[in-house]
């Protein structure tokens, strides 16, 4: 939006437009076609690498990466996918209560995650294992949540990565508040400034909290990038249960930029994310990014997607696989040799084994953990309940030793 638009709002927007033109409510087919259109490469989809691995130009966004950087992105995606598959397998083997797969969303997450700088803060939803990876969180640190030993074990302050948020949308407001703080602290205003990025899904866009976060961030010029991974599904509900029009369009209604990026293109995701974060650092936030991608697995290991979506859809998206396209690109442009691919695969195997070993050896938390850190200043009530409970448990041990029954 050019500055003139701000002083003469709506002059060229067409939204107050002729009633005759607005009179056509879209049919369901039109809605679906509109929502899906860009998956075929609509004009508004930012793409730098085609599904066939061909590097293309975009008039507004570009990125200049050397060969090593391209290989690193590939490595990131492969390792993250492998960790994800291992998590899934561990759940199947009864080692985890549930797993939330990211399969298919590696490019969106690695692109965004690698755009973040050390001074930035990220607020994930519950599927951001790829972003976690970029923030230096070891995949083993994720296991506790899904095994049920903790609710997230890393330190948000030192990692720049908030704990997973499960209540849909909540984190968008928390991130906005954090970004307001970055601004209040005077850390925004030049290219070395700080920024915040918040992750949420297509389904989440319906929640009031996401709206309020957009309102707040616009009003306070908060340096926050709203990174929406539109993976086409909210559990069993397709995108058309949440919106008539592509999600990136919401931003215009709040007065900040909204961009739709090919979420299966790690280069585009990185380029757009960097640009958006830089905008925020410089004080031009917020920005909305819609990463157009696909959930290639079930919603979680508890879900059965065969009940609600067709295998065809999956097959179509497999052709756009985020890892495959970079692999083809690296090969075609001779940026990596077989040795590199073998080394990455070996590294992935090691990671999987390490994850597995770690998981099998995770101790159960002790009973007093139920009561720990409920408050910064513990209440006498919690202390008493812990004591009572431990005394009660000790009673069993006594009984057992005394050969007592029940």
């Amino acid at each position: 939006m050019s500055p003139e638009r701000w002083t003469r709002p709506g002059a060229a927007e067409g939204t107050s437009g002729p009633p005759a033109a607005t009179a056509a409510k879209p049919t369901r087919e039109q809605v679906i076609a509109g929502l899906r259109a860009t998956s075929e490469g609509g004009a508004d989809l930012v793409q730098l690498l085609t599904p066939e691995g061909e590097r293309v130009q975009h008039p507004d966004f570009d990125i200049d990466l050397d060969d090593a950087q391209l290989r690193d992105l590939y490595r990131d995606m492969v390792l993250v996918r492998r960790a994800d598959r291992e998590g899934n397998a561990l759940q199947r083997q009864g080692q985890l209560g549930i797993w939330v797969p990211l399969l298919g969303q590696e490019a969106a997450q690695i692109g965004a995650g690698r755009a973040l700088r050390a001074q930035d803060m990220a607020f994930p939803s519950y599927r951001e294992h790829g972003v976690a990876w970029c923030r230096g969180i070891d995949p083993t640190d994720l296991l506790g949540i899904f095994r049920g030993t903790d609710h997230g074990s890393w330190d948000p302050a030192t990692t720049g990565f908030h704990l997973y948020t499960i209540v849909i949308g909540n984190q968008c407001l928390n991130a906005t508040g954090y970004a307001m703080g970055q601004r209040f602290d005077g850390k925004v205003g030049d290219q070395d400034g700080e920024a915040t990025m918040v992750f949420f899904g297509d389904g989440a866009t319906s929640q009031g909290d996401v709206h309020e976060a957009m309102v707040w961030s616009a009003v306070y010029d908060a340096p926050v990038v709203f990174f929406c991974q539109n993976n086409q599904w909210a559990i069993s509900e397709p995108l058309e249960r949440q919106t008539r029009v592509p999600l990136y369009r919401r931003a215009a209604g709040y007065g900040f930029p909204g961009i739709r990026v090919d979420g299966n293109d790690v280069l585009a995701s990185l380029a757009v994310s960097r640009w958006a974060l830089d905008e925020c650092r410089s004080g031009n936030g917020p920005v909305l990014i819609e990463a157009f991608t696909y959930r290639m697995d079930a919603h979680t290991t508890s879900d059965d997607p065969t009940r609600y979506r067709l295998a065809d859809e999956m097959e179509a998206w497999k052709l756009k696989d985020p890892i495959e396209r970079l692999r083809v690109h690296l090969i075609r442009e001779q940026l990596a040799d077989q040795d590199f691919f073998d080394r990455v695969d070996a590294e992935a195997d090691e990671l999987a084994v390490r994850l597995r070993d770690f998981c099998f050896n995770m101790p159960d938390p002790p009973p007093e953990r139920i009561f720990s850190e409920v408050y910064a200043e513990e209440t006498p009530q919690i202390a008493a309940q812990r004591e009572d409970y431990l005394r009660y448990l000790a009673g069993f041990a006594d009984d057992a030793m005394a050969g007592g029954v029940r």
């Binding site: 549930i98 899904f146 929640q207 009031g208 909290d209 909210a234 069993s236 508890s302 009973p367």
Partner: protein, 339 residues
């Protein structure tokens, strides 16, 4: 309390079948949808998927997209639009996917759902059921194991019930839908797959009534939802020690139906309340308060409780310790008997 007015679905009259609690709810919803074209089912994933617990399985297929609605992902939206639909004459049954996700819809529940009948002095009715799979014990991640029922029991204008077994599930969901008041309907999710015989020809008890499930003389134990099974098991275990427990399924949390509890306590002199929810400022506090008042001269021990601790729900590896189990219930019974 009005007599139940439910007609039995003719197709299944006289049929006795073995059903899970989940299936019983499904059958109950189906019966209500068949009986009254104004009944709607709405929520996240309730349509094509049949809900994450499959409680609404097959309903969209049979009743169509306008009777069984997959809604956008927002709980205030679900409750708020259900209210509008009720004003229009519908009887929406909203599913909240998990207990911990009712809070985005809390404002519409408190400010509109609970108050519109009173505000309008009866001109606007709110025949809405909010179904909430609740409680822990299923090894889930955070926000999927909570017991928020007390929050609603505190609010005038709402009614709150909880079923504990398939037979009640089948009838209570239909009665709740027939009720002209908003009903928060708490379903014991960890009991969804427990089975029992369902004979749809036997008349159901009134919705807002408690029931003595097992007579006993040593002490009274009262619970609701998932803890009822635990308490029945505790009573069986206590038998071996010569302790004869009376077990009451409260079924309704607001209004409370404490008549059977008072009667029982007057005989046993002792009451233990069990619930998964934290005890602090809860439904069990209310029951204890009323019982010490009504049965002041009969109580031989204070009313005691076996509840969840006053902490957030812990990671699931700890839930066995958090949730009062058979042993903890009996421990409290022992403490009661020790007075």
């Amino acid at each position: 309390m009005a007599a139940p007015t439910l007609e039995r679905p003719t197709g299944t009259a006289g049929a006795t079948q073995t059903v899970t609690l989940a299936k019983a709810l499904n059958l109950g919803l189906r019966a209500s949808l068949e009986r009254d074209p104004k009944v709607l089912v709405m929520g996240e994933d309730v349509g094509r998927l049949g809900g994450v617990f499959r409680i609404t399985d097959g309903l969209q297929k049979d009743f169509g997209e306008h009777r069984v609605l997959d809604t956008p992902l927002a709980e205030s939206g679900i409750i708020g639009t259900a209210i509008g639909l009720a004003i229009r004459g519908y009887r929406p049954v909203c599913e909240i996917q998990f207990d911990g996700f009712i809070f985005p819809g809390f404002d519409q529940i408190i400010s509109q759902l609970a108050k519109l009948h009173f505000r309008s002095q009866g001109k606007v009715k709110m025949p809405i059921v909010v179904r909430v799979p609740f409680g822990g014990g299923i090894g889930a991640v955070e926000h999927h194991s909570e017991s928020p029922e007390s929050l609603f029991a505190h609010i005038g204008g709402l009614k709150v019930v909880s079923c504990s077994n398939p037979v009640d599930a089948y009838w209570m969901i239909q009665q709740a839908i027939e009720c002209d008041d908003p009903v928060l309907f708490f379903e014991p999710k960890r009991r969804y797959y427990e089975k029992s015989e369902l004979d749809t020809t036997v008349d159901p008890a009134p919705l807002f009534s408690s029931r003595v499930l097992r007579g006993g003389s040593s002490a009274t134990v009262a619970a609701y939802g998932p803890m009822v099974r635990t308490c029945l098991d505790a009573a069986t275990a206590a038998e071996e020690d010569g302790i004869d427990l009376e077990v009451i399924d409260l079924r309704t949390l607001s209004p409370l139906d404490l008549g059977p509890v008072f009667d029982s306590v007057r005989r046993t002199g002792r009451l233990v309340l069990a619930s998964e929810a934290p005890g602090e400022s809860s439904v069990t506090s209310e029951i204890a308060t009323q019982v010490q008042q009504e049965c002041f001269y009969s109580l031989e021990a204070p009313v005691l409780r076996a509840t969840g601790f006053d902490t957030p729900y812990p990671p699931s590896k700890l839930e066995e310790g958090y949730l009062p189990d058979l042993d903890r219930v009996l421990d409290v019974v022992d403490r009661s008997l020790a007075y």
